[in-house]
Symmetry: C2
Subunit: 327 residues, 2 copies
Amino acid sequence: MANFAERLFEAVEKKKSPLCVGLDPRIGKIPECIKEQAIETASGDMLAATAEALYRFNTAIIEAVADVVPVIKPNIAFYEKFGPLGFEAYIKTVKSAMDAGLVVLGDVKRGDIGSTSGSYANEFLGKVGLIDGSKFSLFDGAIDAITVNAYFGTDSTEPFLGFCSPEYGKGAFLLCKTSNPSSEDIQDVFTSEDMTVCEVVAELIDAWGEKYVGSNGYSSVAAVVGATSDMQEALRKRMPKTPFLVPGYGAQGGGAGGVVPSFDENGMGAVVNSSRNVIFAYEKLMDGDKPKYAPEQFADAAREAAIASTRDIVGALKKYKKDNIFR
Amino acid sequence: MANFAERLFEAVEKKKSPLCVGLDPRIGKIPECIKEQAIETASGDMLAATAEALYRFNTAIIEAVADVVPVIKPNIAFYEKFGPLGFEAYIKTVKSAMDAGLVVLGDVKRGDIGSTSGSYANEFLGKVGLIDGSKFSLFDGAIDAITVNAYFGTDSTEPFLGFCSPEYGKGAFLLCKTSNPSSEDIQDVFTSEDMTVCEVVAELIDAWGEKYVGSNGYSSVAAVVGATSDMQEALRKRMPKTPFLVPGYGAQGGGAGGVVPSFDENGMGAVVNSSRNVIFAYEKLMDGDKPKYAPEQFADAAREAAIASTRDIVGALKKYKKDNIFR
């Protein structure tokens, strides 16, 4: 399997877009047409219908954006809350995204002490041993990389990093500086070395990734760095080999100009996530003072929003990064 | 619903034990007799049989220890790796533990930005909205508290803390100082205020818990503090109102004397977790140079180990804490 960082940025170049679409479906925002079909399919079992609606919504979004964006990121929190059926919808969503040729980031934010992290790593990226000693792959290799909470330190991230080797070709995105306002509470605390906690984490991440650098100079060990942070430039310097996943663009308030510092001089090195603004674009896109799309056209609206977001970000990169890959 | 911290320490007093049994079943260590029954029940479907074996093993352990320990803590990593069926085994395990009268800590270590943490909080502690607007409770209230990763800061922990109010009576255990050796990488970094990162987290946790203090002086907002850490005393001082969950006693190397600093002067304020050393005690307990228990007696062995661990910890508390609740 090719190095994850190589696959990631090849996909970015091929699609001419550094956009990651966050598949975080909120049941209240899923159009009625999908809900009606799902309830019928599930014969009125409302829990099964909910899971079915998530999956139907997702596959329509995936189909609509697959040729214009490189990466998709379903956040498991929006699925597992519906129990085993929700988990099944997550697995099916991930497999649909893989089948559509997308790079799939499993946004699961797992992390525990070493041996337990090993369970999570095997669950999402590898295989687990069953009762008879046989091996079982829950995701059939469909997840390319997952997000990981690194608060536990080195021994807890090792099981995830193990999958970043060429044998497996997976990636891990470690939380460094998150996009929420309260990320300052812990992540921005100054240390006695005159750097912030997220910078300490950044140095760990870059060091952890050293062994997994691909031919493009980037490691398969990546970092989550919020678009809302003025730390992006400092963190980019501390993590020169580390791909960034940049959440917080769009609905969380960060503009396209704000994400530029996460990219390198060639416009490489980062993918920018947008969730609500893409998948629920049908609620927002206007044609004059009327909605441009009917709810049942949600997938077309998502496609337009994905293209517009790409144009927005690439435009900012062209403005600030002279010789970028998007020219 | 009574305040979680009150329920927690009432259970400790009633059982005369501060022991929490970690239900982290490793399929390779589950006795053959359980495996054979599970394979038969699952008609040879090895994935279903694996989930069935976890559940059968767990219910036997729960039955064996329910009258001698107050708290049980199943770590979801050991279940969800088997997919939806594993998740189902987790839910059934939790409900069995509730039915046996145990305080149930869901060791899930979740955490995300605010709105997404809300999904996790509703999943484990509350109810989620379905497609038709009806409410669905995945755990039927069987989980009393969960573990939470606080790296995101205040706005990400709020959805969990909301369930600590009297209306819900739940608890949240926030990761402060974990028991793994590499916890030093981030958690022991010195800040410019001359305290460590885990002490910064400790002050946040104690402040978050202020609103949720019960009649016993303890909050339903609790902390995870490893037995392997020499920070316990300092953290106890910084978090006088915060119950501690102390992992790392036993298999991870911490002895009973080592956990004493996590308790207050009355021997209250902490529960000590032991996983492998209790649930797989059948492999270790010896009668002279022969195993004391056959594999099929694993539940009896677990009970003996739980009683011995309680005696060990209570003995240390009696030695160091003069007027403790265990006298």
